[in-house]
């Protein structure tokens, strides 16, 4: 009897240890990045070096923009406070290596989602927070009103190492126009070259054109041509290999969009807890256990909506009200004629 008891106890002990170990290992499998972030106390976010509307720092060092808001949403979800973000301004050259090397955890820098970037360099795009396209900017006084009026020998300024450089080539080649590409590394230098007359046209994402126009010496002198020559879906990027962190970032963005779909704003989020609609209740954390899937508490989505706002509020605050792009274009909910359609949070 005693022997049996001993055997049973040891068996139970072994099973318990194995069980604890497995769960510990499985728990450990939950995002290393999340653990590190919670340990550090802030989210490390890579942004641009100053693009009004997307990520721009004012004189006191406060960052604002739609890209900034994505990182703040993640901070609100994981750390409880949307202000616990450290922003690292990155040039186009170092943006991907900063992410792969671990200097930052989220790259929210109006980066275009392409196949080669997704598959080839160890990164994962987790969504689109701005649907854009590439366009051209010219001076009003040049009299050009459409890209069909471009002639041979035109000089075009752009950034090196971007999709715009490749698209520009495809565009001019398809029309058989010979052009002179003048490509700088920093956006400010590109703008200065175009402004001084070195180049006849400036090409980048249309949102970038609108934003950079505010930095020129005489913004009213320039117009953005109506044609869009490529698709530029801009979105946040994370490292490959940490799928839980991917999900956190992806769904933080999706929550913002879905909140607008259901009319939840930062002002009325709390009152929405009493709503009839179960979808709304799930979004504000009054129902369901969605947070547990990521290892977060259940108020994660409520915090995002309250502290950062829904997608529409973020867009309005950063891009529409500042006069950059008052018209939301494709960046409108699918129910209102745009193409923002995200999977449901349930």
């Amino acid at each position: 009897m005693f022997k049996v008891m001993k055997k049973l106890t040891s068996l139970v002990a072994v099973v318990a240890v194995v069980f604890a170990f497995t769960t510990e290992v499985m728990a450990a499998k939950k995002s290393k990045t999340l653990k590190n972030t919670q340990k550090k106390g802030f989210v490390r976010c890579g942004v641009s070096q100053g693009l009004p509307g997307f990520s721009n720092a004012d004189a006191s060092g406060n960052w604002t923009g739609v890209d900034v808001d994505v990182c703040r949403a993640v901070a609100a979800a994981t750390l409880g406070d949307a202000n616990k973000v450290k922003f690292t301004p990155l040039s186009a050259k170092e943006r991907f290596t900063a992410l792969t090397s671990g200097e930052i955890d989220i790259l929210s820098r109006n980066t275009t989602w392409t196949l080669s970037r997704d598959a080839d360099i160890g990164l994962t795009f987790v969504g689109v927070n701005f649907y854009d396209g590439q366009g051209f900017m010219v001076r009003k006084s040049s009299g050009i009103t459409s890209v069909d009026q471009f002639k041979n020998g035109i000089s075009a300024c752009t950034n090196i190492g971007t999709t715009t450089e490749l698209n520009m080539r495809d565009f001019f080649n398809s029309r058989g126009i010979s052009y002179e590409p003048v490509a700088f590394e920093k956006a400010d230098e590109v703008v200065a070259a175009y402004d001084s007359g070195r180049c006849d046209t400036y090409t980048t994402d249309k949102s970038g054109l609108a934003a950079q126009r505010t930095k020129m010496s005489n913004p009213d002198e320039h117009i953005v041509l109506p044609e869009t020559i490529s698709k530029e879906p801009l979105g946040p990027v994370v490292r490959q290999g940490d799928s839980v962190w991917e999900d956190i970032v992806r769904w933080s963005l999706n929550v913002m969009i879905e909140a607008e779909e259901y009319g939840i704003t930062s002002a009325n989020a709390d009152s929405m807890k009493n709503s009839e609609n179960p979808a709304i209740k799930r979004l504000v954390g009054a129902e369901g256990e969605l947070g547990a899937a990521f290892g977060l508490d259940n108020d994660w989505s409520l915090r995002i909506i309250k502290q950062v706002g829904n997608y529409g509020e973020s867009y309005k605050r950063n891009i529409a009200d500042t006069g950059i792009l008052p018209d939301r274009g494709p960046n409108q909910l699918w129910t209102k004629g745009g193409i923002l359609y995200v999977p449901p949070a349930r």
Partner: protein, 383 residues
């Protein structure tokens, strides 16, 4: 412990340390790349580049491979280096000799030049020339023609282009002239050694140099035309010059800054070289009745060249390495095209940076080897 063991141990320790360090780095790199799913390999070089380059000496557009883009960048770097070396040498020699002039004003002006351009960082000079000076140039429509055919505008310097017919005949004639000059020089030297007679080699060479190519024009069917740049309107406010050769302002700014900067160092080398010749040489030469010009040409310069050439070659190397600063302005040299655009488009940092560094390393090492050979050769003839 006997001596052999004592000598062996530090070496073994060093080798061990080096191997460990390299191994550590390699393992880390391997793990990191595996985690991210990145592959290491140079196969990307044959992929299509998909980006165009503003200025290229060889035929290139986006449909060529990354390897060809690398070649374009390399050639652009060598072009800047070549032009920069020529200009800085001429300028440096003039200023170096000016620094030794007894004329107080000339000497002080040369000294001012050297002190001024030497103490300002090269990057700042490049920025100044490109962003401040060249951006102040007029737009093509407002530019005035220099000598009727040169146009200096914000979009570049437009010069007439040579249009050759039967260029190869002309080329062979130049080759023939060079060979014949070498032959005549040898003959003149032997003549002087054997019989003491002097041939006016300079005039003969000049004559050959002028007459033979002219002959090819007359009877060889070679003709030279000029394609003058003509302004073309692209839109109401933007114009460009067509025809002719357009030299991008980036190239001008880079070459100018590099040449002015390196000329100061070459001037100092030249000055040190000429000052390093002992006074006795000049006095002895004067005492056998040579004129000051002959003294300079026959006695001072050959000896001074021995002192001048090694550090000057070093400066040439520095100029080539400094041309990598083109990455700061938009001149498509090796660093900007390959370690800039290609790196950003493919994301293969390790491969690309290693190739770039190896390229510069080979250039430096080959010039070092050349210089060592030259040093050894002239060293034998010295006492």
């Amino acid at each position: 412990m006997n001596a052999t063991v004592r000598k062996l141990i530090p070496q073994l320790i060093t080798i061990l340390v080096v191997v460990l360090v390299f191994g550590f780095f390699t393992i880390n790199a391997q793990t990191n790349m595996d985690n991210r799913g990145i592959e290491f390999g140079y196969g990307f070089l044959s992929q299509e580049a998909s980006f165009d380059v503003q200025f290229s000496l060889i035929e290139y557009d986006g449909s060529h491979s990354y390897a060809r883009a690398y070649l374009v960048g390399l050639l652009n770097t060598l072009l800047v280096a070549f032009i920069g070396i020529i200009i800085s040498t001429i300028l440096g020699v003039i200023i170096g000799i000016a620094r030794l002039s007894p004329n107080y004003l000339i000497e002080r002006s040369a000294a001012f030049y050297v002190e001024f351009f030497r103490n300002i960082p090269l990057l700042l000079q490049i920025f100044f020339w490109y962003f401040a000076a060249l951006r102040a140039l007029p737009l093509p429509q407002d530019a005035e023609a220099i000598m009727g055919v040169f146009f200096l505008t914000i979009k570049g310097l437009f010069v007439p282009r040579f249009v050759w017919e039967n260029l190869d005949v002309f080329f062979y004639s130049i080759l023939a002239v060079i060979i014949s000059i070498v032959v005549i020089k040898n003959y003149a030297r032997r003549l002087q050694e054997n019989e003491g007679k002097q041939l006016p080699v300079l005039y003969i060479s000049l004559g050959l140099f002028i007459i033979l190519p002219l002959l090819t024009f007359l009877i060889g069917g070679v003709s030279l035309g000029f394609e003058i740049p003509v302004i073309k309107q692209l839109s109401t406010t933007s114009f460009v010059y067509e025809g002719g050769l357009g030299i991008p302002p980036e190239l001008i700014a880079l070459t100018l800054a590099l040449a002015l900067y390196t000329a100061t160092f070459i001037a100092e080398c030249v000055r040190a070289g000429i000052q390093g010749i002992s006074k006795g040489q000049k006095e002895a030469a004067a005492s056998i009745g040579l004129t000051p010009n002959q003294v300079l040409k026959l006695v001072i310069m050959p000896q001074a060249l021995r002192i001048i050439i090694p550090p000057t070659t070093n400066q040439y190397l520095n100029l080539t390495k400094n041309s990598s600063l083109a990455a700061a302005i938009a001149y498509p040299d090796l660093v900007l095209v390959f370690a800039g655009t290609a790196l950003m488009q493919t994301g293969r940092a390790i491969e690309i940076v290693s190739i770039t560094m190896l390229t510069y390393l080979s250039i430096s090492l080959s010039i070092s080897v050349l210089m060592n050979w030259y040093n050894k050769r002239i060293a034998i003839t010295e006492k």
